[in-house]
Symmetry: C2
Subunit: 287 residues, 2 copies
């Protein structure tokens, strides 16, 4: 299973601490060694660093630490290839432009294609888009293109955040019929998530305390690096620290973050919060 | 004036030698210190490294040397800002997807916008595109979006290279009415150029010899790094070496490269080859 990491903040914030733990899962503490990618919004532009080697040892991942980039919206992904060979074209996150904004997307899960063989799940082969088409061979990029295509077909201009959230919920509920869809999407203003197995988040705000990475012997005191107004939401497949209260999203839950707050949220009627083992198994069964 | 560098080859080739000389013009031997960008096609994917600091000293430019990326199509640009502030969103090259391929574009020149004041030249303000809209504030990204928009409006699928060349020629001739348009465009298969003041090229092939950078005391023997089948076209605003026979494109000339060869070319009726001073002045007058 791939792993996701995202950040949405009210002030440009670097992600070095969280990324330090996250990247160790790409080849060191876990086996997601088929590449990685991280996208930073810098105002309305995007800086995208990707590599097809293990995140733990990639020189492009070293750049994230050596030149900390401050951003209000960041999406990162470490890959365990399930569909599509290990290549740059198949490496998340993916980027497209819509309505004069860049949109960034990363996905964890597996959507059924003709190569898989599960008769209970429908095949995900959307027809060729008018606006967007995948360049690589992954179900993930196909889902991203389909999602943006649906938005563009519905709206001539980027809608307000409430309308956008409602549309994204509908499109994600449609896509998840084809398999497992944990995903994060940002246009540099809002950050949207859909949880289908495991996805956790924490909102760090004053009073800031100390945090200790779960994957490494590193501790940070956020109190020395922040102002009392800062608000930073961090979203990750699995909690990155072991001394903070991470919240878990329910299976089927969707949320939109802005300025470090959840501004829209939709929970399923009977929320189910799998434990980590169950969540990982759910992901494995979907492969 | 900004400067352009591009490469089109029949085998994945690194650009370290050419980029070494080129980047020195970004802040050391010349004054193009408002950022730089370089895009490498890796198969059908693109790796894009950009920075808003001078290319000569940027850590992202250091990456190009430290981890030589082999590619068959490369586009690089160093920027002297004329329109749009110094920001990542205004930094070339620009990228969009069309027909399931990434397209990369960089521009040197200046297209008249309402902020400039030259009554003989028409204003370049194309209407909002259906498919593509600029994210930043430059005339260059606006021209790129307009160019791709015109292609998408004409063709439902990517046309063959001859049809594509003819269409690109028509669109470039339309855009250049609004100002100065030296540009390079690639979709990872072909590389198209339009020359409007200064643009030079060289095709390196067997028997390979030695080359010496014009901007630095560095010499290379291509014979030790190549096979007899290799063919590498390098395109640059000004010749990068001082002991090779660079060819000059005429003002108004357009060409399409593939596998290191010129496969289509269109010259104006009375070709004019400005000397470097005249060419630079033409660029300055257009600012």
């Amino acid at each position: 299973m791939c792993q996701l990491l995202a950040m949405n903040a009210n002030t440009p914030t670097d992600i070095v601490f969280s990324f330090d733990g996250f990247r160790r899962r790409g080849g060191l503490t876990d086996c997601h060694s088929d590449g990685f990618g991280i996208a930073f919004f810098e105002d309305n532009a995007v800086r995208l660093l990707q590599d097809t080697t293990a995140c733990a040892t990639s020189p492009f991942a070293d750049m994230v630490k050596a030149y900390p980039i401050r951003s209000t919206n960041i999406i990162a992904h470490i890959r365990k290839a399930t569909q599509g060979e290990v290549s740059l074209a198949n490496t998340h996150p993916f980027m497209r432009e819509a309505w004069g904004k860049y949109w960034i997307f990363a996905h964890n899960g597996n959507l059924k294609r003709s190569s898989t063989n599960d008769s209970e799940v429908k095949d995900f082969h959307p027809k060729k888009g008018q606006y967007y088409r995948p360049v690589g061979k992954t179900d993930s990029e196909t889902a991203f293109c389909y999602l943006l295509e649906q938005l563009r077909q519905r709206f001539d201009e980027c809608p307000d955040d409430k309308t956008l959230f409602t549309a994204l919920c509908e499109i994600c509920m449609e896509i998840r019929q084809y398999g497992l869809l944990n995903c994060v999407l940002s246009n540099g203003e809002m950050l949207f998530i859909h949880c289908d197995s495991l996805l956790h988040y924490i909102i760090r705000q004053a009073p800031f305390g100390k945090a200790k990475l779960a994957d490494d012997d590193i501790e940070i005191d956020f109190g020395t690096q922040t102002t009392p107004q800062d608000k930073v939401a961090v979203i990750a497949t699995l909690p990155l620290t072991n001394n903070e209260n991470w919240q878990q999203f329910a299976v089927g839950e969707m949320a939109m973050f802005q300025n470090g707050n959840i501004i829209h949220q939709r929970q399923p009627e009977n929320p189910f919060y799998p434990d980590i083992e169950t969540g990982l198994n759910r992901a494995k069964q979907a492969l």
